[in-house]
Every structure is written in C-alpha cells, then in structure tokens.
C-alpha cells in the first residue's frame, strides 16, 4: 500500500499507562462526588470551566508544550491516554478542548513570543478557551472560498469584516484563530492571499449569535465581525500563509480519540445491558463494536507516536477520522438492532438517554472538522489517485 497511508506501530508507553491510572482515579472520585455526569459527545457539549481548571491543576492541559510556556513537556502518547480516558468517561471537556488540542500547538508553531507568553500559560491552567474560525455561511467544505476580509488601516492594525459559523462555544471562549482573506482572491491560485489572525473575542464590533443543534443545545455560533479593529501584531504566522497553516493544524484536529469515542458512553451503557440480559446476539454486537474500537485505538495511537517523532501525518489523520466518525455513528444502529430501547433525553434509563443524545448529535460526527467526502478525497490523494 502507498507509504503515505501507513505509519509505524506505536511503542507501548509506560509513562502513558501511569498517567492513565491517575486520570482514572481522578474521574472515579469526581463521579462519586457528583461534580459531573456522563454524557455522549462531551467534547462539543460539556462546557465546565471549573472542571477544565481542575485538569489544569493536575497538569493535564498543554501536556506536550515546553515548560517555558507553562507546558509539561510530556509525550503525545501520554496526552493521548489522558484525552481518551476523559472521553470514555463522558467528562465535560469542551471548554478547553480546542485550545489544548489545536490552538496552543498552532501558537507554538506560528505565534510571536509575546503571544505565547501571554496566552499559553492561561490555556495550561484551564482558564483560556479558543474557537476555530474557518467555515463561513457560504464556505463549508470549499474553505478556499472564504470572504471574511482583513485590511490594514493607517495605524497598521487589521480591520476585519465578515462572519464565521460553527464556532463551537464562542460564547464561552476568549480567542479565535480566524482565517481571513488579506489579499483579493486570485483565480489562478485559490490558496493564496489568506492569513490567520488571533482575535480577542471581546473586541468591539464582534457579535456572537447562537446556532442551536438538533437537541436544542447551544454549542455552535455565528461570529460576526463588523469593522473589528485587530491590533497589527495579532497576525498569526506569515501574511498570505494562512492556507498552509490551516492545513498543518489538521493533523492535530483530525487524529485524536475524540474522532471515534464521541459515542463511547453509549457503548458503555450497552455493555451494562449485555451483562444484565446475557443475550448472545447482544454479546456478539458488543464484540464487533469492541474490535472496531481496538483497531481505531491502534490507528490513532500510531498518529500520536508519529507526532512524538515530529511528523505531521495529515493523510493518515484524514483516514482515521473517516473510519472513526463512521464508527461513532454506526454504534447507534448496531445497538438498536439487538436492544429494544426507546431513545429519550429524559428517560430514567441511561441507555435510552445515551441513545437519544447520540442520535441527535450523530449528523455532526461525519461533518465537523472536514466532511468524510473531503477526507476520502485526501485519502485518495494518498493512494496516488489525485
């Protein structure tokens, strides 16, 4: 098979297993104390700043970053273990998720020294949250067609006009890394003329409008920029290099365990049902789902190991996300085929609740972070077809 799709196996990490045990103990204590309840897809919907700060206190945010910015200089394998434990428990991790996964690493690569010194330690403490400003009302999969514009004024500051959508938890966040057009579009090079700006979401001229998802939850927003003056030194990276920078973020965005564990709490509840019923058909379905989880873990671990080697495996990451998000959605139908459960958000039966939450979030799994059609196009490139 094409080498661009195949990564070396991940070595077993004792350090990762040690921190995994610590996280597991912490989560058991928190659950026992009732500080959170398990839900499906909590990396989108579970905003809880006090929980994020607790993770920060324990050193589980900014884990891989340099100590000079508050980080802990631990491996991607250790971070992987922490994040997958939090997801499997359905813990409320949405507040800090984007900042810890993606915005922090982006600042480490492209941020100025001042930006890093000011912002990264706050992310590490679980106090500073980020949104991704990529999609727009008229630009979804075709990201190169964005129209949000930033123009330099006489003071050297940027004046931003336009709108970004699907900005998860913008109403709870402090900054956005926003892809903007800084030169007019060039039909001969669609990827030129874009830049990333680091924008303080409290600036005048920014309006955050809620976009409710199917269960009524307010996680997404439309963020409107109306002559927003962004200080000139808030350009992230190089002017005109925005497309390249956005692409580099995607190995972080697309490869993590949140791309196959969003519905794990449903599997966990189904496991309880299987133990109670002893039904061999349910047992077989749990076995099949488990085999898929085990394969996806190995795929995702290989990416974490590649990140530790300093690689940015964008094509394997796209493949993991395609397979993983397809799985997250399949869990619903697999469980329904063998368990007679009426999905309901207010049922006393935790399996019925988990099924309801999973169902109403399901359309998003294969859309967010790049639709599976886009991802398969990237995989096809990896196969040498494009």
């Amino acid at each position: 098979m094409s080498n661009s799709l195949v990564l070396a196996p991940a070595p077993r990490s004792d350090a990762a297993e040690r921190v995994r045990a610590e996280v597991r103990e912490f989560l058991a204590d928190e659950l026992a104390a009732g500080t959170f309840t398990t839900h499906v897809d909590t990396w989108l919907s579970g905003v809880d700043p006090s929980f994020s700060r607790k993770l920060g206190e324990r050193g589980w945010l900014g884990m891989t970053w340099p100590k000079e910015y508050g980080g802990h200089e631990r491996s991607a394998m250790e971070r992987y273990a922490v994040t997958e434990e939090l997801l499997a428990a359905g813990a409320p991790v949405a507040a800090h998720w984007i900042a810890d996964r993606q915005s922090g690493p982006n600042l480490l690569t492209y941020g100025t020294e001042k930006q890093r010194q000011e912002i990264l330690p706050r992310i590490v403490r679980g106090e500073c949250y980020f949104v991704i400003g990529m999609s727009e009302p008229d630009s979804g999969s075709d990201l190169a067609s964005i129209r949000t514009k930033a123009v330099r004024n006489g003071d050297g500051d940027w004046v931003v006009n336009g709108a970004k959508v699907w900005t998860s938890n913008a109403h709870e966040s402090h900054y956005g890394i926003v892809l903007v057009r800084t030169s007019p579009s060039d039909p001969s090079n669609r990827h030129a003329g874009m830049s990333q700006l680091l924008i303080d979401l409290s600036l005048p001229g920014i309006t955050v409008n809620p976009i409710r998802i199917l269960d009524g939850g307010h996680h997404f927003n439309e963020v409107v920029f109306d002559d927003v003056v962004v200080p000139g030194d808030m350009l992230l990276g190089e002017e005109g290099n925005g497309w390249h920078q956005v692409t580099a973020e995607l190995a972080f965005e697309r490869s993590g365990p949140e791309r196959f564990l969003s519905t794990y709490p449903l599997i966990a509840e189904f496991g309880r049902r299987v133990v109670d019923s002893g039904d061999p058909a349910q047992l077989a379905v749990l076995g099949r789902l488990s085999a898929r989880v085990l394969a996806l873990r190995q795929m995702s671990l290989r990416i974490a190991a590649a990140l530790d080697r300093g690689e940015l495996p964008n094509i394997p990451a796209a493949l993991v996300k395609d397979v993983g998000t397809t799985f997250e959605a399949d869990v619903i139908e697999e469980v329904r085929r063998v368990a007679d459960v009426m999905p309901s958000l207010d049922s006393p039966d935790p399996l019925a609740r988990a099924l309801a939450e999973a169902q109403l979030h399901q359309p998003g799994f294969t859309l967010r972070g790049g639709t599976n059609e886009i991802l398969r196009g990237i995989v096809a490139r990896g196969l040498g077809l494009r």
């Binding site: 195949v6 794990y264 077989a284 749990l286 076995g287 085999a291 059609e373 096809a380 196969l383 040498g384």
Partner: protein, 349 residues
Amino acid sequence: MADQDLVVETVRDILSGHEPFVLTPARRWDEGLWSALAEAGLTGVGLPEEAGGSGGELADAVAIVRTLASGAAAVPVAEQLLVAGPAVIAAGLILPPIEEPLTFGIADPVTATSSGDGWTLTGTAADVSWAGVAAHVALLVTGPDGAALALLPTSGLPVSGAFNLAGEPRGSLTLEATPAAVAPLTEGQARELRAGFALARAVQLGAALEQVLAWTVQYAGERHQFGRPLGKFQAIQMELAEMAGEVVAVTALTDAAVQALAHGSADVVLAAAAAKVRAGAAVEVVARLAHQVHGAIGFTQEHKLHHLTRRLWSWRDEAGSELVWSRVLASGLLADGPDGLWPALTRVV
C-alpha cells in the same frame, strides 16, 4: 518492519516463478512452490533450530505468511509456521521434518485414548486445512482429562474431498483407533491454540486485503472509460478510500495482536479474537468494492482478482467466524463486570 525486508524479498523471488492457479480436486496445492520454499529453509522460520526449525523470530514467520497470502500461494505455510509447528514444540512433541507439510485442525469430537504402549485417536476431524495434502497433522482433540494435542502422519488416512470457496482442501479425516503422539493441554493452552489459529488467519486476511486494495488502485489507474482513468472519478475515489480505511484498520490491529503474541501477553486470546473479528468484517467491504471497481472482468477466472477474493470469503469463516470470536471477545472484556469494559479495552492491545 524493515528487519523483515530480506526474508520478504526471498519469498517474493520464489513466488515470482509460481503464479497462482485455479485449484481443482486434481490440483489441490502448489507442490513445486512448497519444495522451493522448503529448500530455502523457509518452511521452518520462527521455529527454533534445536527443535528442527530454521530459527528466526515470530516477526519473520509472520512476514513469510503475509507475503505468501498476498500471492495467493496454495501451500500450508501459515498452518506450519504459526499454528501447528509452535504448538507441537510447546507441547513437547517431536516436530516432523520441516520439508514435510504439517497442518492443523480443531477436532474436539476426536477422542484420544491411552492404551498402555501409546495413544490412539477415534472420531472425525472435520474442516482440516490441507487434508490430503499435508504429510502430518496436529489436532486439538479431547483427551481423558480435557484438551490434548495430537500429532500423526496422514498417509493412509481416509480423507473426504471438501474444499473452501477458493478450492483449498478443507476435508475430514476419519480416525479409528489411529496411533498418534499425544500431549495433554491445559484449558488455557487450548484456548490460546484456538486463538493462535484465528490470528494466523487474521494475518493472512490482512495481507490479502492489502493486496486486493493495491490491485484495485492499480486497475483504477489503468482502466480508461469516458476518456479518463477510473481512478479520476470521484465516485471511484470514494470507494477506494473506504477500502483503504478498512485495510489500515485491519493492519493496525493485526500488527498489535502479533505483538501481543510475541510478548506473551496475558490477553493474547482477546487480542487475536479482536484481530480476527476486525479482519473478517473488512472482507465484505473490500471484496465487494474491489469487484465493483474491477467490473465484469474481475468476475471471471481470467482475471487474478478471484484468487484473493475467494480466499477472503473463505478465511473469514475459518478458525472461528466473526460471530464466534466476537462473543469470546465481549465475554472476555466483560470478565470484570460492565465497569471493567473500558479498562479491558485499553489493556488488550
């Protein structure tokens, strides 16, 4: 995997002189290929030299099995190197000469009885891979105190002529007070032997799935319709990407299960179960889409595709189907109760 490059090259060189052919009851295996492999010592790799093997690591044996599986080689090497050979040695029985094909069968209905001066076997061993081809067979049978491993030569045994969907011999051996060497196995050893057989098939499936993807990508680049290669059509690209996802998933999990076996993990049975379930589940997607992309020519014996797709459809049900192993896997993962499910998932591989 770079450590295995040399052995893989050697096997490929030998394979290049032995194209796969349509197996029939009259031509049930590739005897010439076997002889060439045996001559090169490749039919003893991974088995210790002091036991009569050629030495080398499990990883070398796996690399040989993978290369032969992707070449649709009709020889009992997976059985000899990954299942029967290691089992015979572990049980303290004497490994037959590595030039003489040794196969493996699960034969619970066969009973082993001690008769003073030795052991005899009675019953029917069904679905024995390479029955009628292999010179020796190791069978997982029922002894007086539970499971046992029996080893016997096959010459003179009545064999029924059953074959899998690829024409590989899968016949029954009839045993009637047939002398054999027998060693008792613990329940755990018997479970690990069944799992080892399943893992061997998972390894073969993984390699064959990867090869089918490679053939399909290549065909999509060569075949032109509407003035361009098939691979330039988005609809075809989506199908090939879906195949690639399945193949990468199978490879990642099978590699991890082989590692679990190499390291003597306590969870090797569950790791093998998971690998077999995942590999088996990938067959439907990969074989279906491969045939869809190849079009009508892939549906003929003229084209090579069937050498692997017919094996895929057979191997997924051999050594325990997805149904069998998914129940074993789920039961094992729930051994510590429902709260133990996640800890087990992070421990197995």
